[in-house]
Symmetry: C2
Subunit: 450 residues, 2 copies
């Protein structure tokens, strides 16, 4: 099972074999790496390279592991023995931007930030904004159906995907979807491939919905004594019919760590919430957010100008890097019904105590999407197994509260054992049947996602 | 192939056979009825009846045609020889309404209007609003991924579906999706079944996203001399970053017919556009809509109070019933990129002339979704074949302009021949493979959708 030199010459892009493959290609940002060495790495230069890589791997009996920027958090792009790694980050052209139709056609390796910047030139924006926006590829964002900070108003990556170009297991190129705002012809293949984590085909291009840049943006933040009133304030904002573009929560220690990293002598609090409103009603909504927060705390701050808004948001964005100073981090990604946010945060605090682990929680309160960050000190060999056990309890908690094990990072390798517990045997069987129908020989990402 | 009397007794709901089945059950609102008589009709009283109907039909060698209110427009619920009609409209309970989590769990037979009314009691609404909202069932809305007037801001039915309960071909009950705002665990089965037109399973219940009732709603209408400036005005509104909740267009004759039906001596015009803005920015957006319309016509009307708004909207809602006075109507449903609306309307006018057919066009300009209505006089035997030929040219036009053959009604029987022309052989093969994987014996709705 090695790639013949003649096959290598057929590619326009670079091909590496065995020991020549850099170690970084075996893993993603989760740090998970399977045993064994990958057979080949194809740095695809175009769609023909992708098709050739798929058929070549099939003929050689290798599996295909597709990769964009390698910024995944669930091990979905990790590659081990017997695999051909197919890096599509070189397919990075914006093929079309049609302002009147509010859409763009891009290759899979384009970053969301690059597309957003190009759209901005036409008064438009690409709404999905995963934290990795500057580095991750849109192909990877689609493969994981990535979320981000603006989902509460603008939805997840999938809500912006109108159509896809996908290379199938037989090397054929499939076009799904449409260029129109609506369309219901046939089964929704676009949504099926979105979030499929590399197990059904290789996404090589996408038709994406753009939106107007919001006409106004206002930031409102508040410090609360405890998590309960913070969660209640978030619920009250939504019940007041406000649709914030962002509604983020940090627990006590996430706030402290973030302030410490930024070197600001900020206020201490049991919880911190930062909201943004935008659009034609931004001012009225921001006033109502501030008033509503004021029913739960006296410490409300409104950022009217971009600088003040940036300072309030910086705390939220600093939360993860601040924790990464203290060791390896397990970035978890549960979602609970919004009414259960406070219960989930409290329960995570108990789990941390029970496993002598440090777990800080922040996340997208507007969606009920929490990121408990388990810090694993590098000098404590017993900390990692404790962290894994704590993560399992966090998943169990999410399910007990009516939630899910992943809101935006995917199942990958790391949460595979939990999928059937969440969805039941009929759902797993149905998904496996679809996988077999599209990839009968198990070419794509075996051992992942399902 | 008849249903044994013993099998009939096992159902809680009513079962009819052969000649006892009312003729209306053989067709839907499209008027299409296949040849041959259906074998049995099961009026399901609960999920067990649905499961029993599926396994009984499979054992007896019958196909299963699922049906809600029978308000479909593409023949998807039409039933002929060898079929068991499974009517799920009796499953009509709202099982849960959770205001804090902004969701409802309903059985498939509930109407969208009934759910919306119940949600209103909690300050919430169910956003999807197909024209058939008062009579159609949510199960049918999901099976066709139905649209409506508010899609331009709030999306289609699928955008409100969080999870489904589906009876599969083996009679097993599948739960898909989640109760949370986000969630990416596993393949997106929820979207796969949404819009699947009864070919993959029987939708028996759904978890649906609710939204706050908009805080304010303002209606703006305008009369234009021709279709081109009307379409340009719609494009200008969207380019001005307004997100209207509704943006509807009527051509000259649709306007005249609607005014005639309503008995109002309205203004004549080459095109009529009615927009609604809502939410915290409704007033600012309405002002900008009126100003933008004013750049293309001097005849702009703003409906500030509900009564005035209702009068402006009534014209739009009267357009279809007005045309139904003149004969059988073929209700087409194309979508074009928004930049092609004027081109599409002009082309449809030419097609009407070429086929000596009466075709009036109105639709959802904000989405580029047009409903050309072909009127077939009942006293002209040659009008129907001409209408069908004209419809084919309309489909071809949609594809030429980069659009789709159906925006919200589905493929059913009537547009099957066009699906491959729109999507290509790889997309059709992929969809067929998924259909076989989930329904290997072709039990569900054979001859439909694909």
């Amino acid at each position: 099972m090695t790639l013949p030199t003649t096959a290598m010459r057929a590619f326009t892009g670079t091909v590496l074999r065995g020991k020549d493959i850099p170690a970084a290609y075996r893993t993603d940002r989760s740090g998970y790496a399977p045993t064994g060495e990958p057979e080949a790495l194809v740095l695809a230069a175009n769609v023909d390279d992708v098709r050739r890589a798929v058929t070549t791997a099939a003929e050689a009996g290798m599996s295909v592991v597709v990769r964009g920027a390698g910024s995944g958090l669930a091990g979905g792009a990790a590659a081990g023995a017997g695999s051909l790694i197919l890096d599509v980050s070189g397919l990075n052209r914006i093929l079309e931007l049609a302002p009147a139709d509010e859409l763009a056609v891009v290759e899979a390796g384009v970053s969301a930030a690059a597309l957003d910047a190009e759209a901005n030139r036409h008064g438009l924006c690409y709404a999905p904004d995963p934290a990795s926006i500057a580095i991750s590829t849109i192909g990877g964002n689609i493969a994981t159906n990535a979320g981000g900070l603006r989902c509460v108003k603008y939805g997840v990556t999938g809500d912006a995907v109108l159509g896809l170009d996908v290379v199938l297991a037989d090397g054929q190129l499939l076009h799904t979807g449409r260029r129109t705002a609506k369309g219901v012809a046939g089964l929704d293949l676009t949504s099926l491939f979105t979030g499929s984590e590399g197990i059904l085909g290789v996404i090589v291009a996408a038709t994406l919905r753009l939106r107007p840049v919001p006409i106004d943006t206002i930031t409102v933040a508040a410090y609360f004594d405890e998590v309960e009133p913070a969660a209640a304030a978030c619920a009250a904002v939504l019940a007041a019919r406000v649709r914030p573009a962002m509604l983020e929560l940090l627990d006590e220690s996430s706030l402290r760590e973030a302030q410490d990293l930024l070197g600001v002598r900020g206020e201490s609090a049991g919880a911190f919430v930062v909201a943004q409103t935008d659009g034609f009603g931004a001012r009225a909504e921001a006033d109502l957010v501030a008033k509503t927060f004021g029913e739960f705390t006296s410490r409300v701050r409104v950022g009217d100008d971009p600088e003040a808004a940036g300072e309030l948001l910086a705390v939220r964005r600093a939360a993860l890097p601040a924790l990464e100073r203290h060791g390896r981090v397990l970035i978890e990604d549960i979602v609970v019904p919004r009414s259960q946010i406070a219960a989930a945060v409290r329960r995570i605090t108990e789990i941390a105590a029970g496993y002598h682990s440090r777990i800080n929680t922040f996340g997208h309160a507007g969606d009920g999407n929490l990121h408990p960050i388990i810090v694993v000190p590098r000098d404590d060999a017993r900390a990692y197994p404790r962290a894994v056990a704590a993560a399992d309890e966090i998943f169990a908690t999410a399910l007990e509260l009516g939630g899910t094990i992943t809101g935006e990072h995917g199942v990958g390798v790391l949460k595979r054992a939990w999928l059937e517990r969440e969805q039941g045997p009929a759902a797993l069987r149905t998904q496996q049947a679809i996988r077999r129908a599209l990839d009968p020989n198990g070419l794509f990402n075996p051992g992942k996602a399902l």
